[in-house]
Amino acid sequence: MMGLARINWFKYSSPQAFYPLAGRMMPWFAAAATLLIGVGLYIGFFVAPTDFQQGQSYRIIFVHVPAAWMSMFLYVVMAMWAGLGLGLNARPSFMMAQAIAPTGALFTFLALVTGAMWGKPTWGAWWVWDARLTSELILLFLYGGVLLLRASIDDPRRADRASAVFALVGVVNVPIIYFSVRWWNTLHQGASVSMTTAPKMAATMLTAMLVMTLGFWMYSIAVTLVRMRCVILERDRQSSWVTHHSHREAVEVH
């Protein structure tokens, strides 16, 4: 028994390997995000033409649609890590889900707020109980549930499992958001981009929207990597490799 206890099992699991790797990858994603968002804003404001129906207010699309896409995409990715964690009982997978959730919630909040700012001049109302808006609001509550479950359970392993089950159940809401504009008669406009039909918008508008989306995606990866590093340090502070890293980083910081 003593022999077993002496082995540093942590050495063989992945957070130790992932922590420095995430630190090295993060600046590249941050740089890509900055560049893409810069280019996206330039095309969106200086190249894309005025919309013949909505005038200049349509330019909110360049931040609204990317935020809304990221809100759904990050939820699915979070749920996939949560499911993987449950299936393989893999702690690093749960940590990934934990690292993604706050950024997903933030983009959901931004999709709703920028949507309100677009709705007011376009529909005359900040908010309507339309299927698209309501299902996106439910997405915010689902993210809230995941975060609250995590925060309210002290045992990290139990918090992992509870928030993972909750995240998996909530994933049914994502296709509901996506197809809501087709399934119900909504005030919200239909899909801006479709795989099956030709784009309904000018090519430069579409380009700006896609470049901004790529930028938000790279941003999400960068902040998730940093949050993953935080989660690893917070949860594994007792292990010896953390000792090594925190000493070295403290030296770098000072």
């Binding site: 005038g55 700012m117 949050r227």
Partner: protein, 59 residues
């Protein structure tokens, strides 16, 4: 480009308040997240160092 002057750009065809609020609130939120994470990471490093010192005291 469709902007004749800076004020035209700022006005956004009368929708300036809505357009700039949307981009402003997004910029603020992303910036806040980055700064909050920077603080959290520094605190996590400090916390890890502290628990190391605690362990050292216990031995």
């Amino acid at each position: 480009m469709q902007w004749g002057s800076v004020s035209e750009f700022v006005a956004m065809g009368g929708y300036g308040l809505y357009v700039w609020s949307s981009f402003g609130v997004t910029a603020l939120c992303l910036l806040w997240e980055v700064l909050a994470l920077r603080r959290r990471h520094a605190a996590a490093i400090a916390g890890a160092r502290e628990s190391i010192l605690d362990q050292g005291m216990g031995q």
